[in-house]
């Protein structure tokens, strides 16, 4: 049995705009490109870290009301911004760090995503930028 678990309920901010109440899923992936450095004499392939690639995926309820999802994202397509995700709304700490991506690029915004009989949701992906895990306020 797991000794410590975590019920997902993160704080989500995009471009300094709180979107927690519109968000149902959030993922940050940190990847370091694997560069092969295998050489003669090795008996198995070896790799070393290359450039870091960041990818943030959010699932949001779509709303066209003032200062909601569409208003937040419409002017961000094709630009870079900051994203912050904290595991819970509790104060910053070593056990509740805020993951901050600065300079994340939004390539695509699905301006309409509608299915009959369902609440409209969109999946958006930010790529690139720089990463920091903040454990204390400024």
């Amino acid at each position: 049995m797991a000794t410590t678990t975590y019920l997902s309920n993160p704080d989500v901010t995009v471009n300094s705009i709180a979107l927690t109440d519109q968000c149902t899923a959030a993922t940050i992936n940190r990847t370091f490109e694997a560069l092969e450095n295998t050489a003669f004499g090795d008996t198995s392939r070896k790799y070393t870290a290359g450039l870091q690639v960041l990818e943030v995926t959010l699932t949001l309820y779509m709303s066209y009301a003032a200062t909601e999802t569409y208003a937040t994202l419409n002017a961000l397509v094709g630009t870079t911004t900051n994203i912050s995700i904290k595991p819970s709304s509790a104060a910053l700490s070593a056990t509740n760090p805020e993951f901050v991506i600065t300079g994340a690029y939004l390539e695509t915004l699905p301006v309409v995503s509608a299915t009959m009989g369902e609440l409209s949701t969109i999946d958006i992906t930010f790529t690139g930028g720089t990463y920091a895990a903040v454990t204390a306020g400024p």
């Binding site: 300094s16 705009i17 200062t67 208003a71 630009t79 870079t80 900051n82």
Partner: protein, 59 residues
């Protein structure tokens, strides 16, 4: 200097001054915040001794 004010509670307390320097430092896209109506900018007040432009064209 222009003053930036918070409009939407998603950004902070409406009516409070928006800290532009901090937002830029944190990588926020200020143009998108303005375009989305989350903050507003007020033009700087002219100095008291500034001359007014008077249209003298009487046509």
């Amino acid at each position: 200097m222009s003053k930036y004010t918070i409009v939407s509670p998603r950004v902070g307390t409406p009516g409070d001054e928006f800290d532009l320097d901090l937002a830029v430092k944190r990588g926020a896209n200020v143009e998108a915040l303005l375009a989305g109506g989350f903050i507003k900018v007020s033009a700087p007040k002219p100095a008291k001794n500034a001359k007014k432009d008077i249209d003298t064209n009487e046509e």
